[in-house]
């Protein structure tokens, strides 16, 4: 009995695996046949089915390369160039030395591979742009930067390009979040058919240049695909080229502010100079020119100065609001605020003229991300 069970298990393992593999192989073979018969939509579907099989049913690396080669050719033939390039780049990522067989594929397909190679970022080892894919219901959705991982441009005028590819229509949103996790911009929300290029002009929703730091583009399903619960994340390292900005003026020193309410000390300090100067006018002739009769008109001036001192004393008596000083302090603050606003505006203008350097990191796929 035990011997029978062992034999049955071995038989199942031995025969079942080739049966499953044969189904992937069969799909590949049917896809190739459809390409040769110019049945491109069906061929693309068959090849994608073959490529989407996982585990023991998956194609071998050589067969995967072959399937991607035919998929690229099929997509090109049905004018889905972005999908064709995406397939070609996946193939190059799989085997950087792979070249299309010119006896089988025509010059347009060979040229497509050359284009795919050119548009791939310069990475060590020559691999393609970093791509993360999600495969909800067999639909391989991918995100990658376009035109290389590094890009420098002037905010507001240039743009950082991202491409989302989805062989089957998918409803997704792409959101850019800042280092603090807050949303900076929604780059896209809608239906992706085949592929779509997203542009980020380097500004936040308010039109400001964001601070350097680590940002994140998150692609996740929306609408009827919302329950799929996956996300693709592309980290972006944002830096800025050096720019000379003006230093903001420091707030006015405390010593420049005047007391807005009178105190005894201030009131006396206002009274004393007035009274002393008034008294000096009265007594100085006797000291300077002793023996001469001084003009009595000086008493009017001396009295005026003394009265002015008294008036100053009363205007600054304790608790009384000194409106002149309040106005002075307000002017001081307003002038400083104007200067700060002016320099801030000029610095923002200079920052806008500087270049934003964005380096895309390795994208990741998270199957558990709730939208």
């Amino acid at each position: 009995m035990t011997r029978f069970v062992i034999v049955l298990t071995v038989a199942l393992v031995t025969f079942a695996a080739p049966l499953r593999a044969q189904s992937a192989d069969a799909l590949l073979a049917q896809g190739i046949r459809a390409y040769q018969q110019q049945e491109y939509p069906g061929g693309a579907w068959l090849l994608r089915r073959a490529l989407s099989l996982q585990g023991s049913a998956a194609l071998s690396p050589a067969e995967t390369a072959r399937a991607l080669m035919y998929l690229a050719a099929t997509e090109l033939s049905r004018d889905q160039r972005d999908s064709a390039i995406a397939a070609a780049q996946r193939l190059q990522a799989l085997d950087s030395r792979y070249r299309p067989d010119e006896r089988i594929f025509g010059p347009p397909v060979v040229a497509l591979f050359q284009d795919a190679q050119r548009s791939a970022p310069a990475r060590s080892g020559g691999a393609g742009a970093p791509v993360a894919t999600a495969t909800p219901r067999g639909n391989t959705i991918a995100i990658r930067p376009v035109g290389g991982e590094d890009r420098a441009f002037r905010p507001g005028t240039g743009a950082f390009l991202l491409r989302i590819t989805a062989p089957a229509p998918a409803e997704v949103s792409a959101t850019l979040t800042g280092p603090d996790g807050r949303a900076i911009r929604t780059l896209f929300a809608g239906l992706v058919r085949d592929s779509i290029d997203l542009r980020w002009n380097g500004l936040d929703i308010a039109g400001n240049v964001p601070a350097p730091g680590r940002y994140l583009v998150t692609v996740s399903p929306v609408g009827r695909d919302r329950r799929a619960g996956w996300s693709l994340r592309l980290p972006l390292e944002v830096t800025r080229t050096a720019v000379d900005t003006l230093t903001l003026p420091p707030p006015p020193a405390d010593s420049l502010y005047r007391a807005e309410r009178g105190t005894y000390g201030r009131a006396w300090r206002s009274l004393v100079p007035g009274v002393l100067a008034g008294a000096a006018i009265v007594v100085l002739p006797g000291i300077i020119a002793n023996g001469e009769e001084a003009s009595s008109a000086r008493l009017i001036i001396g009295g005026t100065v003394t009265v002015a001192g008294l008036a100053a004393f009363l205007s600054q008596r304790p608790g009384r609001t000194i409106s002149v000083n309040s106005a002075h302090n307000r002017n001081l603050q307003e002038r400083w605020r104007r200067d700060v606003a002016d320099i801030t505006r000029r610095n923002a203008e200079r920052l806008r003229q500087s270049q934003l350097v964005i380096r895309a990191g390795a994208p990741t796929y998270s199957p558990s991300e709730a939208p």
Partner: protein, 210 residues
Amino acid sequence: MIRYALAAAVVAAAPLAAQSPLRMSFWGAASQEIVQSRIGGVRERLSGTMLSGEGVLGGERIVLRLRYGQGTLKGEGAIEPRELVEGEVLLGYRAASWLTLWAGPNARAYTAGGADQRWLFWSGRATLRGTLLPGRMQSFVELWKSAGGSVTRPDGAASGRGAEAGLEMRLSGQTLWGRLAYRVEQGLGDGDLRDVVETLAFSIAYVPPR
């Protein structure tokens, strides 16, 4: 002629002051002068109106002050009228916000009947200022004493001292100031020569914005 030159200097310097870190002010004054002269027991009292101009130019510490004025004095009875011309050139050091020290010459000349009498003093001064209302009103007292001097008719050495006190206040905006001042000076020469001058002055100043 000198009056016109002063006015021209003010007009020309104002735009410069507005652009430079220098502090400048230009004063024009109308004053009542009372002169009591005594020589050999003879006393004369004259009074009259004088117009004068003053310019103050300086940085944070060093200050230059120029003053020039002229007018006509008339005496009572048979006393012959005199033409009076005054001037000073002082270099100052602003030791503190309330204290400025000055040094330089000041001169006064009387002309009567084709003859003139000139007083020249080399003096040291101190001006003390006190704030009554910040940025709006201040009082001042200035004291001076001569270190040396001379006088003509009769020729000889002279000494002098004086004081000025008053009130300065902002009249309008940041640029227009007014000053009410009383000044008294005494010059002493050889042979019982004594000259006492009192001035009651009202001045208006233009202070270019910085």
